[in-house]
Assembly symmetry: C2
Homo-oligomer: 171 residues x 2
């Protein structure tokens, strides 16, 4: 892709993430194009189907999830920061997750990358004594998947719930 085409794609994915989050999976393509500052024709050329756009948004969200953590974190700080990120990921894909095919290479690969991060973080927690020894990475991922799926109408509520869960990991 030429640089300006790439920039358009980035803008579309960013706008789509926001608009799906606000209006759900059925959000208007026109609104996404408007928000991205591109014409509808450009949007449809780049993403001919709704599911192509879902996949692009999902892929972008996975990229953010697996991006490096700040290097100055302690092992416990890294674990906590990453699972906060994971809840944002789950919440972000809620809008369209049901509409997306799940048994795809894309989703399977994302799952593998997620476990490849969560497993060593939780293992470090066992070694460092800041995660209960009987708790597995899979337990923690499933707990936070649930937490990310719930509705939190009050201010700060999702964050308070995340902190409850993080505290509960400790022995």
């Amino acid at each position: 892709l030429r640089a300006d085409a790439r920039r358009n794609t980035e803008r579309i994915v960013e706008a789509a993430t926001a608009v799906f989050g606000e209006d759900g999976a059925g959000a208007s393509f026109e609104e996404i194009a408007r928000r991205a500052g591109v014409g509808s024709a450009t949007l449809y050329r780049r993403f001919p189907t709704r599911s192509a756009l879902f996949e692009a948004v999902y892929e972008e969200q996975v990229q953010q999830l697996v991006a490096s953590l700040p290097e100055n974190l302690t092992p416990q700080g890294a674990l906590e920061e990453w699972f906060r990120r994971f809840v944002r990921f789950i919440t972000g894909k809620r809008a369209f997750a049901e509409e997306m095919a799940h048994d795809t290479e894309l989703v399977r690969e994302a799952r593998a990358r997620i476990y490849a991060i969560a497993d060593p973080l939780v293992h470090a927690g066992h070694e460092g004594g800041f995660v209960q020894p009987d708790i597995t990475a899979d337990d923690v991922l499933r707990m936070f998947s649930g937490v990310g799926l719930a509705d939190y109408p009050r201010a700060g509520q999702r964050d308070r719930v995340i902190e409850i869960c993080l505290r509960g990991l400790r022995p």
Copy 2:
């Protein structure tokens, strides 16, 4: 209702709870009738629509949720036992919750009864020092709603996750 009609209704609701849990909201009425040991005609006479049966199952699940707790529990034991029950409730209604109308008298009343139990339990936790002071009953209900919605394919996983969350409530 005559006593045998009442007994049939109870058997149907119990069978429907199990069959919806196994086969989802679209579960076969014939299978429910078979499991309840009643004829299909009896089932359809008592529950002419699928949603009537959903509501009966839901009502039964609410009854179990709001039933008295054992009297020998400490305030902390009562809180923990009730929220374990609440997760079972959320998990139990997962199969058909999406198919059920939510803005009904039945659901609003159930919600009021749930808060009428959760509020004093969490308040007692603040007073007794076993729940962090900034955590509200609504936070705890929403956390466990999320936890109850997640999938737990491994043995004991749901229970481990519940215990993480309960531990995290403590100061």
